[in-house]
Each structure stands twice: as C-alpha cells, then as structure tokens.
C-alpha cells in the first residue's frame, strides 16, 4: 500500500491516471501526446504506476497498451472510507468544490 500512496503523491502521475480513465488502453506514444510530456518522463511515471499496480498493461501485436487499474484504490476505499458514512463526506466535498471551484484533487 506504500507504493500506491507514493505513486499517487505526484500531480503528473495523477494526470496520467486521469488520461487513462478517459481513454483506457493508450500506447506510450498516445499518452505522451495526451499529456504533453516527454517520452522519458511518461516512461518513468508509468514504471512507478505499474509497480504500484495502478496501471496494468497488455500486449496486442506490437503495441503495449496501458490500463487504469483501480483495484488498489478500491482497497483504500474499503479500508478507510466505506466504514464511515460516505454521504456526509460527499456533501462536504461538493460544498468545497462549489466554494473553491474544481481542483485536481
């Protein structure tokens, strides 16, 4: 679980996961274009995310495709959030968003 928190502790890696959530199954090249980041930077971030099992990959022909793997995040949710009342937390989050505008979480 340490790996998961460390991997998530980077705005660039969170952006990368957001890109995969919107377009699952991207190649490295497509990810670089989406994120406007260098190939080297994206490669390094992907390594950290794969290590934390937040990104899963499959090979199709010559291409390596990257997928958002939310299973470890679900484990965090189960451990710390679901046990408490989810609805008051959601109400607070919505209030914060309305008052402050959207942020990157």
């Amino acid at each position: 679980m340490d790996d998961v928190f460390k991997a998530l502790a980077s705005p660039a890696r969170r952006r990368l996961l957001d890109a995969l959530r919107a377009h699952n199954g991207l190649t490295l090249r497509a990810l670089c274009t989406h994120l406007d980041m260098s190939r080297q930077a994206v490669t390094q971030h992907l390594e950290r995310l794969e290590q934390a099992n937040l990104v899963a990959t499959v090979r199709r022909g010559r291409e390596k495709l990257h997928y958002l793997n939310p299973v470890p995040i679900h484990a965090i949710y189960e451990r710390w959030i679901r046990k408490y009342d989810r609805r008051p937390l959601e109400a607070l989050r919505d209030l914060k968003r309305r008052l402050e505008g959207e942020d990157d979480g």
């Binding site: 899963a56 997928y67 995040i73 189960e78």
Partner: protein, 147 residues
Amino acid sequence: MGKPEFVYVTYIATTPEKLWSALLDPNLTAQYWQHENVSDWKAGSKWEHRAFDGARTLRLVGRVVESKPPRRLVLTWAYPDDTVPEEKQSRVTFDLEPAGGVVRLTVTHENFQPESEMFDRIRNGWPKVLSSLKSLLETGRALPELW
C-alpha cells in the same frame, strides 16, 4: 477483436488451484460476489450468473470459450435478454499466473457493444468483486454488502 476495454490486475496470497475454484464454485462465488456462477465449466458449455437470493434471479449468461485449469478461463458475458449473436457478446478472460508466492490475477473484459449499458455497470463492478475475492481468500472474510 479490437483492444480490450478494461484490464484489472490483483495479487492474491493463495495458490492458482484455490483461486481457480474460487472463480467457479457457486458456494464460494456466493460469498464474495453474492452471486452464484453455475456451469460444468467445460469448453462449449453454457454458464449462468445468478443472484444469491431467494429468487435466484438470472443476471448474466454466456458460454465457456476456453478452460485451462488452473491458468486461463475465457467466458462470453451477456444479459439474459441480449439478442446479439454470441460472437458479438462481450468476453471476459481470467489469467492466473504464479508470481513469487502469490498469484497474479488478470481480468480482461472486451468486445463491448457500442453504447452498451454493461460498460458502465461493470466499470464499478469488477474492482469490488476482485477486492472481495482477495479478502475472502486471504482473510476468510468477503466484503459485506457488495451491491
């Protein structure tokens, strides 16, 4: 078939044999999935996914495309009232690989119909099912109130 829509990976401290039976044994799926998976699990056979309630409501149906215990299981995955031909139904692959004392389980779900209602439903479903499966095999307790 194009590229898969979803790929999920989880590492579970168990053996491939135990994980295999957890995917197929209705008594075990009832515990962590709150549904029974029912079939003889031979390639070509039909399988059913029924709610573990009094009515045993039929929720999903499909066919066993490939079965290589305890490594790989491929199923078609459709709603009971689905009218599309079998080759156009969505498809789920379970790959089980030993990985340093634990088992790496990869679930690949692909071949969705455009605008499919299933797409949104399964997006929330798989992470829950896999967390609950992991919890059952590692601690003996599945997650409560999954759905």
